[in-house]
C-alpha cells in the first residue's frame, strides 16, 4: 500500500513514495537526504527531531509521513540563505550555545517558531516555549542568551534581522 506524496521541504516540492508506517523523520533523512534533522528518543520527549510544519514545531519521530501530503515543512537546512547563516544560527555560534550540537537543529527550529510568536521574549517565555527540547550537554543558559540576542536583532532590523 505504498503511496506517492508531495512534501514541500524548505520551499522545494519533493515527491516521495512512502508506506503508511514510515515516519516523517526517516523520510526526511533517508529519502530526501536531509540529515540535519536528528533522531533522539523516538518517543517525543527530547525534541531533537523537531521540524516546522506550516510554521509550527512538531515532532517528526511521531508523525506519519503519509499524513503530510502537500504540507510545508521546514528543516534546519532551510535556514541559511545564500551562504549566510540565519540570525539564530549566528547568535547560537556567537554565544557558544552549541556544544555537541545534536540538539541544535531542533532547538533552532523551536526558537524560530518562538520568535515568530513572541518577537522579544524574556527568559520565562523562552523556558516555556523551549520546554520540548532537551540539551544533554545542559547548555541551556547560553541557548537562552542566544535566543534573546536573535530576538533583539529582529527588533533593530539591519543585517541581523531575523527572517521569520
Amino acid at each position: 500500500m505504498k503511496q506517492v506524496i508531495e512534501l514541500i521541504i524548505n520551499g522545494e516540492p519533493s515527491e516521495v513514495i512512502v508506506r503508511p508506517n514510515e515516519l516523517l523523520v526517516d523520510v526526511i533523512r533517508d529519502k530526501i537526504g536531509l540529515t540535519g534533522t536528528k533522531k533522539g528518543c523516538g518517543a517525543g520527549d527530547c525534541g531533537a527531531c523537531t521540524v516546522l510544519m506550516e510554521g509550527k514545531p512538531i515532532l517528526s519521530c511521531l508523525t506519519l509521513a503519509i499524513s503530510c501530503q502537500g504540507k510545508h515543512i521546514e528543516t534546519i537546512e532551510g535556514l541559511a540563505k545564500d551562504g549566510t547563516l540565519h540570525p539564530l544560527q549566528q547568535t547560537f555560534v556567537k554565544k557558544g550555545a552549541i556544544q555537541c550540537g545534536y540538539c541544535t537543529p531542533g532547538m533552532i527550529l523551536s526558537a524560530k517558531a518562538l520568535l515568530r510568536k513572541t518577537p522579544d521574549p524574556d527568559p520565562e517565555d523562552i523556558r516555556y516555549e523551549m520546554a520540548g527540547n532537551l540539551c544533554r550537554c545542559t547548555g541551556y543558559k547560553k541557548i537562552i542568551e542566544a535566543i534573546i540576542e536573535a530576538g533583539q536583532g529582529a527588533h533593530e532590523g539591519g543585517p541581523e534581522r531575523v527572517r521569520i
Partner: protein, 292 residues
C-alpha cells in the same frame, strides 16, 4: 524505532469516518495527534491493524461559543488551538490553565483534546479541569449521537465508554456564571513533558448568602482513572467559602484517593499532596471569584 505495518485511511468527511469505523469494527484505532498512540505502537503496547487518521477532518475541528449556554470544542481541535484561543481563556479558564501544562509546544501543536480524553491516562491534564467544569461529551457513530457527563466516559484504567463504530465528537463546557469559581492545579517536578504526580480541578457555585451551593472536585493521577471526590464536595456544600472549609475538603479528598507508589512519587506523598492541592485550588478559585 520503526512501526509495524498497518492499513491507513484518511477520511475527508465525518460520513466517511463513520463508514470506515463500522467496516473495520474493533480492528481500527483513530489516529489524532499521534503523540500517545504512536508511542504506544512503537513500544508494542498496541498493534492496531488499521489506523484512521482524522487530521484532515475539518468537521471535527473548532471552538465555538453560545452566549449563556457554553463553549463547544470539537474533538479534533489541537491543544495549541485551545491554548491560543482568547475565548477559552475568557470562558474556560481552568481548561486554559490545564493545557498550558500539557506536554511541550511540539506536543500541543500535534495533540488534540479528543485524543487526550480517549487515551484516558489517569494523569491526563485536561480531564480534572473538564470534569470540574461539568463538561459533557458527545459520542457519535452508527448513525446516531449520545451525550454523557465526561466523568462517566472513564470506565476503568485506560478504558472508555466507546462502543464499536463510535467516536468522540465534541466536548461541551457549560457557561460559567459570575458566582462560580474554578481552578486547575497540578504537582509536577519539571513543569513540562511530565506525567503529573497529582492534578486537581475544582469548581463551585456560590449562593446569594456567599455560601457554597454546589461544588465539584476532580482528581487525576491518584486512582486508576480520573474521578470526582464526592465526599469532599459534600464537605463544602451549604458552607461558607472559608480557608477552614477548604482545608477540611482537602483532607476528605485525600481519603477518597487511591494512589500507587511509582517512580514519580510514593502513595503516601500523593495522598498528602492531594490534601494540600485541593485546598490550594479551592482558595485559588475563590480568589478568582473575588477578582471578577
Amino acid at each position: 524505532m520503526g512501526l509495524p505495518a498497518f492499513e491507513y485511511y484518511c477520511p475527508d468527511t465525518s460520513a466517511e469516518l463513520e463508514r470506515l469505523l463500522s467496516e473495520c469494527g474493533g480492528q481500527a484505532k483513530i489516529l489524532a495527534g499521534g503523540t500517545d498512540l504512536l508511542v504506544q505502537i512503537k513500544g508494542g503496547f498496541q498493534s492496531p491493524a488499521v489506523l484512521i487518521d482524522i487530521g484532515n477532518l475539518e468537521s471535527l475541528q473548532g471552538i465555538s461559543h453560545k452566549e449563556g449556554k457554553g463553549t463547544e470544542i470539537l474533538a479534533g481541535t489541537k491543544i495549541a488551538a485551545i491554548e491560543e484561543s482568547p475565548l477559552i481563556r475568557e470562558k474556560v479558564l481552568a481548561l486554559y490553565q490545564a493545557v498550558r501544562l500539557l506536554g511541550s509546544p511540539q506536543v500541543r501543536a500535534m495533540a488534540t483534546l479528543g485524543g487526550n480524553i480517549c487515551n484516558a491516562s489517569p494523569s491526563a491534564e485536561t480531564l480534572p479541569a473538564l470534569i470540574a467544569l461539568g463538561s459533557e461529551l458527545t459520542v457519535a457513530g452508527n448513525g446516531s449521537e449520545r451525550n454523557l457527563p465526561v466523568e462517566s466516559f472513564f470506565l476503568d484504567y485506560r478504558k472508555v465508554d466507546l462502543g464499536p463504530g463510535e467516536y468522540l465528537k465534541s466536548v461541551f463546557v457549560p457557561e460559567q456564571s459570575n458566582v462560580s469559581g474554578s481552578a486547575y492545579l497540578c504537582r509536577m517536578l519539571r513543569g513540562a513533558m511530565e506525567i503529573d504526580i497529582v492534578n486537581v480541578g475544582v469548581w463551585f457555585l456560590m449562593d446569594t448568602e456567599g455560601r457554597c451551593q454546589k461544588a465539584r472536585i476532580a482528581l487525576g493521577s491518584v486512582a486508576p482513572k480520573p474521578f470526582r471526590a464526592y465526599e469532599a464536595e459534600a464537605v463544602l456544600t451549604g458552607k461558607p467559602l472559608s480557608e477552614d472549609n477548604f482545608q477540611q475538603a482537602g483532607k476528605v479528598a485525600s481519603s477518597e484517593s487511591s494512589p500507587i507508589d511509582d517512580i514519580r512519587g510514593s502513595a503516601e506523598y500523593r495522598r498528602d499532596i492531594v490534601r494540600v492541592m485541593v485546598a490550594r485550588a479551592l482558595s485559588m478559585a475563590s480568589k478568582s471569584l473575588q477578582n471578577s
